[in-house]
Amino acid sequence: MHYWSGRRLVVAVVFVGTLAAVPLLGRRADSSMRAGPEVTGFRLESVASELGIAFTHRAPSLDPRLDNVAPHVTALGASVSVTDVNDDGWSDLYFTSSRFGHDNALYVNRGDGTFDDVALAAGVADLNREGEGVSMGAVWGDYDNDGLEDLLVYKYGYLQLLRNTGELSFDDVTEAAGLRRWMNANGAVWLDYDRDGLLDLYVAGYFRAEIDLWHLRTTRIMQNSFEFASNGGANVLFRNLGDGSFADVTDSLGVGSTRWTMAVAAADFNDDGWPDLYLANDYGPEELYENQEGRRFTLSFAGVDTDSKSGMSVSLGDVLNRGRHDVFVTNISERGYLFQGNNLRLNYLEETRRFREVARGVVADAGWAWGAQFGDLNNDGWMDLFVANGFISADPDRDYWYGMSKVAGATGAVFEDAASWPPIGTASLSGYERSRVLLNREGRLTDVAEAVGVTDHYDGRAVAVVDLFNRGVLDVVVANQGAPVLVYRNTVAPGNHWIAFELVGTRSNRSAIGAEVVVAFGGRRQRRVVAGGMGFASQNDRRLHFGLGGETQVEDVEIRWPSGEVQRLEAPAMDRLHVVTEPERPSP
């Protein structure tokens, strides 16, 4: 009988067919949809230079003992945070740099389409000094409830609290506030965890606090595992005592995670009225700390800890308009080497006490993803997603992925010693990656970055969404590592409506951080929270913006203040910003 006769031939045909199917099925879904504004409903135009914003981030120089991994260790620090620093109704921008002698910038919005950097005169520029550390990010919050937004700058170095004294002037009150503490931090949020009307502060440690990155005593400073590392800097919760000072309550509240936390978001995920903490940890699983009525936090097992990855950013959005805080955490994907994938976790805590991970295709795989923010970019009533990407863009012909893969699988003892890492030299590591703009079409996310005009290949880090020109549309600001910031002015096709809210706390903290707004329209309910920091090294416009699509009226607006007050607005006017002050007295 001939060898390839009969049934064996059938097996061979099936085998070859299967082989042929592999490259067809294995094509990476990484291309941006080509469509015009008539499909996307908006267009983003890079306008930083037109606005007078010309800020370039500078990376730090560290101890020479880290030279072999310097581009990796120094690849963070570009941040953006939004506030209205002079309370003139126009959003201003604060950017950090991370090299000694290089200034941070505070761009004040003049309201006429131009911005001025007033950081030096205001005393918030010269913060990167030897012996003090370098800036990694900043968050704004009115910690003393005086109506002026104050600034907390977190560093690889000493924290710095700068009190806004009005007239674009700041005092350094770090020492008096009890916050002069060396932390190698990459994230922080303001929140009122005990709902006493005073903003507390949660700072995320990255490298251990005892490490001075300019004067190393050892090179054993890296992670002790690629995906389960727990030897990072401890996170710290500072309670606002109300007299201008803060107390470290980390241990008694149980939130001193030593994972390598990159980003934190605070919101009431489980609808119990208390703000919880969601941590995106680098080299480890995510963590959700549920707030037990301000007395303690407990680490939740809500399905966020089951897949260990490299969390870089945590953003909250109501993806399906269910009135829930869903979570987007960015991670790493690299062709051939690693598909950790971003997480889009839908909140089903009420039904199952768990989140459900649903990221697939372009949502999961955006490259080496960093900051991300939700925002309804075309005002169609569905929250879109902007994702910044790219880690180290250096020599495009040299790639460090192979070099890193040598130690990534090694035992922790090897991996945690920076001296064991192969020299990175001039190589790139997931460099020259483009940002993604994921358009939400009734719950389905499609990448339209190129179609809407986002084509940059900088190493994006922090993203903030903000209505810079008070037009009822969300613009996008991106802080890039070692590169100029980008400001994308958004032009939205006419026809869709919107509504926005600026909240002012009275019994709650004046910044209204932690307040939540649920807008019901067209049979849907969309929820947003006023955040004291969100994404990676970023803080959005605290005015909450809702696109309404073609709806001609809002059915209901519910405001849940941190004090516990629930306020309803009846038939608020559309296409305008509503400034809402919390009722002085509790509702009957």
Binding site: V11, T18, G336, K406, G409, T411, S420, W421
Partner: protein, 293 residues
């Protein structure tokens, strides 16, 4: 020596002898199951039980169907079980993709019935499937290269049991030859590249290597007949791997697809050629010796 010590020695010897009576195939089954259980328990290594079901289901079904069609009888499914577990542990595709496990299973077992010479298959089944997926679908498929907690204790357990199993399977010489060759070549590479020696040695402590060393390079069905030949092949695999690694260090673009999994792809290149030569020599009357099981 005390009576107690003597008694203990007898017990150990009896256990070792009993271990020797178990068919090596089942020792391998035990070891891979142990790795699966420990990896899942400590690190949720699978990333979802549906992945295990897809890989295992495809392997077992393909083995059953192919053996019935081609040989007219159902084959023992232990080999398919090992391949299925290996694929579910080693493949790390994009989120939500199950097809790499299902197709990987079909390719792994199918290769045993299609890519044959003188009625012997040429490729280690898991190695073939993983290599094909990595080379043809790098945009969506990657390999386990890090998710083992980077934990020395877990590695030590796997190594202890693994060495025990390969020694009873009479393949210890292959494992040791490969490891020694890897270490020597790592020193050479470190000297040539100029980086830290630990960085070159480090990969062998990772999870991909443990599966490679104990399940792939030692697979008796796809190793050559003579002990000397097996030692030579293990050396050759290490050498080809070193070449791939050096090319990676020097960013040779042409070989980039090989860099994510140098040992797997080195075996993919060397293994079938060695098998073919060995079988060809066998056909010409060159004597060999049983492959150990």
């Amino acid at each position: 020596m005390t009576d107690v010590a003597l008694s203990n020695r007898r017990r150990v010897r009896a256990a070792w002898t009993m271990l020797g009576t178990i068919h090596p195939r089942y020792l391998i089954v035990f070891l891979i199951t142990l790795i699966l259980v420990v990896g899942e328990w400590r690190y949720a290594i699978l990333g979802g039980y549906e992945r295990l079901a897809a890989a295992l289901g495809a392997c077992v079904a393909t083995e059953a169907v192919c053996s019935r069609l081609v040989r007219g009888r159902f084959a023992n499914l232990a080999s398919a079980y090992v391949s299925g577990i290996s694929l579910s542990l080693l493949l790390k595709p994009q989120a939500g993709l199950l097809w790499p496990f299902a197709l990987g299973g079909i390719l792994a077992i199918g290769s045993k019935y299609v890519l044959v010479y003188r009625d012997r298959h040429l490729f280690n089944p898991s190695n073939f499937a993983i290599s094909v997926l990595l080379l043809l679908a790098p945009g969506t498929v990657a390999i386990l290269s890090h998710q083992w907690g980077n934990d020395l204790a877990t590695n030590a357990i796997i190594w202890a049991v693994g060495l025990l199993v390969v020694s009873r399977a009479r393949m210890l010489h292959v494992t040791l030859t490969y490891v020694v060759s890897f270490l020597l070549l790592a020193a050479v590479r470190a000297a040539l590249v100029g980086g830290p020696l630990l960085a070159e040695i480090a990969p062998v402590t990772g999870p991909m290597y443990q599966l490679f060393i104990f399940f792939m390079v030692t697979d008796p069905r796809t190793t050559v007949r003579t002990r000397r030949g097996r030692i030579l092949v293990a050396c050759l695999v290490a050498v080809v791997e070193a070449v791939i690694r050096l090319a990676g260090d020097h960013n040779v673009g042409l070989l980039r697809p090989l860099y994510p999994a140098p040992p797997i792809l080195a075996l993919f290149l060397v293994g079938p050629v060695a098998m073919w030569v060995d079988l060809w020599r066998e056909g010409r009357g060159h004597p060999g010796e049983p492959a150990g099981r």
